[in-house]
């Protein structure tokens, strides 16, 4: 088993008027190579779950075990060696004032001890050039350009490359195409698919797009009020229709899926 989340609870601002139960008795197990898509309404706990795995905030209760390592209480930077992350905001995954190759060099050192050796070595550059060429965005010829000059789509593709440069035990994709235009989003998703498949990575992808949630991955989970309310895999998942998901949501949650963004997609 690659990931095991057991009875995880998280409440934001407890004891105040803004109290929000973000995760409530969350349980989830992933096998190696699982590519799970995650859907759910606003505030369902999708991003919170990913942030808890990454250690952005501490969990209140429960345990998270990734590849046999108990990461429940580890600070964010000391569990980063296990994780690759791509965020919704293209600005968050890269350092804009630094060169493309410098960003890659830092990602190359994820999970390694940083010392006083050169931040980027000569022989690494060939590797980065080759990896950038696979993205097919022309970035391999602009390796010394500042990342701030890139478009949102280019930055997301670069972040994706950085997140998987050292194979992560788990790849966390938090609506990583939501801020992109449809054409670019499609391209970034195709790159995601290719990288995950070629490296046989275990991945979790939060999305608001139901079609994408059905089309990508081998498993789909739906969240509501901090819990998983629907979990489907294999053939059954492949045969899902958007209408099925909407119906499922309404019966399980007793609410209408009143989210324009999800319906329109």
């Amino acid at each position: 088993m690659m990931l095991s989340i057991k009875q995880v609870y998280k409440t934001f601002n407890p004891g105040t008027v803004n109290e929000k139960k973000a995760l409530s008795n969350l349980n989830l197990e992933l096998e190696k190579g699982d590519f799970v898509t995650i859907i759910g309404g606003n505030g369902a706990g999708k991003s919170t779950m990913l942030n808890m795995i990454a250690g952005v905030y501490p969990i209140d209760r429960g345990s998270i075990i990734l590849d046999g390592v108990d990461i429940s209480r580890k600070p964010e930077h000391s569990r980063a060696w296990l994780l690759g992350r791509v965020f919704q905001d293209p600005m968050m995954g890269t350092a804009s004032d630094m060169e493309i190759q410098e960003n890659l060099a830092m990602a190359f050192r994820r999970g390694r001890r940083r010392g006083l050796g050169w931040g980027i070595k000569k022989d690494e550059k060939a590797l980065y050039r080759e990896k950038l060429r696979i993205l097919d965005l022309g970035l391999e010829d602009r390796m010394t350009a500042k990342v701030g000059l890139l478009s949102g789509g280019q930055r997301q593709a670069l972040t994706l490359l950085m997140a998987t440069l050292q194979d992560p035990k788990l790849l966390l994709l938090d609506e990583h195409t939501a801020a992109l235009d449809p054409k670019t989003a499609k391209k970034v998703l195709a790159i995601t698919q290719e990288i995950v498949a070629s490296k046989n990575l275990t991945a979790m992808m939060v999305t608001h797009n139901m079609k994408d949630a059905i089309a990508y991955g081998n498993r789909l989970i739906m969240m509501h009020e901090g819990r998983i309310i629907y979990d489907v895999a294999g053939e059954e998942k492949k045969n899902l229709k958007v209408a099925d998901l909407l119906e499922k949501f309404e019966t399980v949650s007793g609410e209408e899926f009143a989210n324009d963004r999800m319906l329109l997609n």
Partner: protein
């Protein structure tokens, strides 16, 4: 104002500018690289000055006194960094707390507020012993050598793995943490290195002027910012990191020349701080004013004929 007296003031201004330039390099690390306004600087500059004066008067070798001053600065930076990263006190407040505490500490170190270094050998005397130049030129030569060494070391350091992570911390903390480096450690380290350099500068200035003073660092942070701003405006932000570092040191020299000029023009030394603050305030305000002015022009521009306004 006489031209000859202005010219006579120039060598002193330039050598002071170079020695204060070491402090500017320290401020550059926090203000530009780490994106933190660290107000420890006023205190750590005086700390360097006082530590150095006390040690030299106590019979310690003047070069060793410089090195110990650096250590004292590192410690001051550590305190600010500790308050900021461990107790999560906002950086500006953490810096002010250390700065205020250092005022008392500095008086304790020297046992008084001002300590002249009389009848002892300073590093400047050592240089004049080697080459036949006056004290001002000796200060300049020593200052240039030290600045060159510091720029070289910083250029190397910010190219290392830790240095890259430190630069990235000022850029995007989320990314740095997601790539497995502790942003708290990076900030702590940056504050330490910065204040180590500031204290070295304070120690150098003390030895070149011949006394340590608890008030020598008053307003140092603003002088540092002014020098950075002057350097960047004149030389631009292009080219390599070493170029940027060198340009802020030149900014420090230009600052001293401007000060010498306005003093010769009859301005009182008491008004200097006001003038410096004005320079920095105007320089920091310009980008915002330009942006707002451009926005206003955009809004008041006539609508594009036959097209919808796509910007909300």
């Amino acid at each position: 104002m006489s031209l000859s007296s202005l010219l006579a003031a120039m060598p002193g201004a330039v050598s002071q500018g170079v020695m204060w330039g070491v402090m500017v390099l320290g401020v550059y690390i926090t203000f530009r690289v780490l994106d933190v306004a660290d107000l420890t600087v006023d205190g750590s500059f005086s700390l360097g000055s006082c530590t150095c004066a006390a040690l030299v008067m106590g019979g310690v070798d003047p070069v060793l006194a410089l090195l110990i001053a650096i250590l004292a600065g590192l410690a001051a930076g550590f305190v600010t960094g500790f308050l900021h990263t461990v107790f999560e006190i906002p950086a500006i407040l953490a810096g002010i707390l250390t700065q205020i505490a250092l005022y008392s500490i500095n008086i304790r170190i020297m046992g008084r507020a001002n300590l002249p270094m009389l009848k002892v050998e300073t590093v400047i005397d050592r240089v004049t012993g080697w080459i036949p130049v006056n004290k001002t030129v000796a200060s300049l030569i020593l200052g240039v050598l030290i600045v060159a060494a510091v720029i070289g070391i910083l250029y190397w350091f910010f190219g290392t793995e830790i240095g890259c992570a430190l630069r990235a911390t000022g850029n995007n903390e989320y990314m740095v943490r997601s790539l497995g480096a502790s942003t708290k450690f990076m900030k702590l380290l940056g504050l330490m290195v910065s204040n180590g350099l500031v204290a070295l500068s304070g120690a150098l200035v003390a030895q070149s002027q011949g006394y340590g003073d608890v008030n020598s660092g008053t307003g140092a942070i603003v002088i540092g910012l002014a020098s950075i701003v002057i350097g960047e405006v004149i030389f631009g932000k292009r080219f390599s990191f070493a170029y940027k570092l060198a340009s802020v040191v030149v900014g420090s020299v230009i600052y001293r020349i401007v000060i010498a000029f306005v003093l010769q023009a009859g301005l009182s030394t008491d008004d200097l701080k006001l003038l410096t603050a004005l320079v920095v305030a105007v320089a920091l305000a310009i980008p915002t004013v330009v942006k707002k002015w451009k926005m206003k022009k955009l809004v008041s521009a006539p609508a594009v004929p036959n097209g919808e306004d796509k910007q909300p």
